[in-house]
């Protein structure tokens, strides 16, 4: 049931016609999530709104650098406190232009997660209220988790 509700929410506001819609049921015991989906990078905030309305909480935002493919990926981990269900939402951007909308107006807790992803990978969160280094020094101009970082 909850699967269909989420699917409807995603179909209406996130996937639209151009994207390939898919929502994969995954084995929680093997992957650590019940559902996994990939959304276009410019619609991560729409996805966050669907998750927010479905009573999910945003647990973490993980950046990843896929240097061979020339892309960087963000993984949003959502959890529903009442059931313990987990949904993983993925979005990827080109390494040269790693910009995507912030979700911090929906989940204010994302503000720090996004600043961390900006520190480590150099993601640019459009509309972020305070895009300054969080964990790295205030004058840091390097991104240590990029795979081509030589420090």
């Amino acid at each position: 049931m909850w699967f269909d509700d989420l699917k409807d929410g995603f179909s209406e506001s996130v996937w639209q016609e151009d994207a390939a819609p898919y929502l994969v049921e995954t084995n929680h015991a093997a992957r650590g999530a019940d559902l996994e989906t990939t959304v276009p990078a410019e619609r991560v905030a729409d996805a966050a709104r669907v998750m927010y309305e479905a009573m999910f909480s945003l647990e973490a935002i993980t950046g990843m650098d896929w240097i061979v493919e020339g892309r960087m990926e963000l993984v949003y981990d959502y959890v529903q406190f009442s059931s313990g269900r987990r949904v993983t939402v993925r979005a990827s951007v080109p390494r040269e232009a790693p910009g995507l909308p912030t979700v911090s107006m929906i989940y204010p807790g994302a503000e720090w997660h996004e600043r961390e992803a900006r520190d480590f990978f150099g993601f640019i969160f459009i509309g972020h209220p305070d895009p300054t280094p969080l964990l790295l020094p205030e004058d840091a101009d390097f991104h240590p988790l990029r795979k081509d970082f030589t420090g």
Binding site: H28, A29, F81, P133, P144, L145
Partner: protein, 372 residues
């Protein structure tokens, strides 16, 4: 500027709390904008203890990262390492012998009790009560001695291995743990009459530092902060891992959302953890404590997994991506304190500075875990 504009409320000043301050329990700075005794804004400045554990995870083999996990939240080190080994085991498909899982639960729950005891002592020092710290450290010392006898260290344990634990527990440990459970249970009424019933303590905690359940959800707060706001979410219960489903325990929840509720959750959790340890000691099966044929140099197949445990401060998670080599391609650490602390700025606006310090203490922050 006219004289009317210069009303006393228009005049604010900046106050730095930290980076070196006894109430922050670590290197944490909070830039406070004050209007007299009231807080207008509180901007946390973190990262002083940042060591880039996630990078260290990428540039060394899986086994070499084992000691790192206990250096994030060093107060509940075994709970973190439990997450790390379980995540790698999930990724590499290693099955852990049941006895090892029992030992993990016993030691992790003892670690949770010691963490809560340390928090309680430190929290009361924040509120100006020094004596309870001496009592809680006395009890905590027993746990450290017990854990030292089998893990070899007192704080930054590196006891779990991929596939089990490195040392079996002995009869001395079992007898010592049983007598500790008795002792700790007999101490709880003393703590309640010394602290919980104390009128000064109650006035500092009841109705102070309110966190609505919805705020927890928006910020991703978990653990005692969430359960103190009336949400019954515990990873051990909602997404059972290890052998937790075998045990009978309850998840303490208090709906008030104030400092007192968070205090009560942790006090009840001490009792529940003792119950789990007691049941585990009774039902622990015989057998090996280490899986057979775990390669010394792990090379999990390509893949990705996420694993969460209920650490002393909330949901501690790791996302590990393997590209088939001997070191992770990516190792993400999800720290509970990071999310729990992020709601501080919103919740503390308009409160008195003294109440903000009580609130800060009740969040149970371990700064190196926020900074990683």
């Amino acid at each position: 500027m006219s004289i009317d504009d210069q009303s006393i409320h228009a005049e604010t000043f900046i106050l730095n709390l930290g980076p070196q301050h006894p109430a922050t329990h670590g290197v944490l700075r909070i830039k406070l904008t004050m209007d007299g005794e009231y807080i207008v804004d509180a901007e946390p400045v973190i990262g002083y203890g940042h060591r880039m554990h996630e990078k260290m995870g990428e540039n060394r083999s899986y086994a070499k990262f084992l000691p790192n996990a206990s250096r994030m939240d060093y107060v509940g080190a075994l709970l973190n390492t439990h997450c790390h080994v379980a995540a790698v085991e999930r990724l590499a498909g290693i099955t852990v012998p049941e006895r090892a899982e029992f030992i993990r639960v016993i030691t992790a729950e003892l670690n949770r009790v010691s963490s809560h005891l340390l928090w309680m002592g430190a929290f009361l020092v924040d509120l100006g009560a020094f004596t309870p710290l001496l009592y809680t450290f006395d009890d905590r010392e027993d746990i450290l001695d017990l854990l030292e006898s089998i893990t070899g260290s007192r704080l930054t344990y590196c006891y779990y291995r991929f596939g089990g634990v490195c040392n079996d527990i002995d009869d001395d440990f079992i007898a010592g743990t049983r007598s500790f459970i008795e002792r700790m249970r007999s101490r709880m009424p003393m703590y309640h009459s010394l602290v919980t019933e104390n009128i000064i303590f109650r006035k500092r905690c009841e109705g102070i530092g309110g966190v609505p359940a919805e705020t927890c959800r928006r910020y991703g707060a978990t653990g005692p902060v969430l359960r103190g706001s009336g949400v019954c979410y515990d990873v051990r219960r909602n997404e059972p891992y290890s052998v937790y489903p075998l045990f009978d325990f309850s998840v303490p929840v208090y709906p008030e959302g104030d400092c007192m509720a968070r205090y009560r959750v942790r006090m009840d959790e001490i009792v529940e953890s003792l119950r789990i340890v007691e049941q585990a000691l009774e039902r622990i099966p015989a057998g090996p404590v280490m899986a057979e044929k775990v390669p010394l140099i792990l090379k999990p197949a390509r893949g990705e997994c996420y694993f969460n445990v209920e650490a002393a401060r909330g949901s501690f998670g790791m996302r590990i991506v393997s590209d088939g080599l001997d070191a992770p391609y990516r190792l993400k650490v999800r720290s509970p304190c990071f999310s729990n602390f992020s709601l501080f700025r919103e919740c503390v606006r308009g409160t008195l500075l003294a109440d903000a310090l009580a609130f800060l203490g009740s969040l149970d922050l371990v700064i190196p875990e926020i900074d990683r």
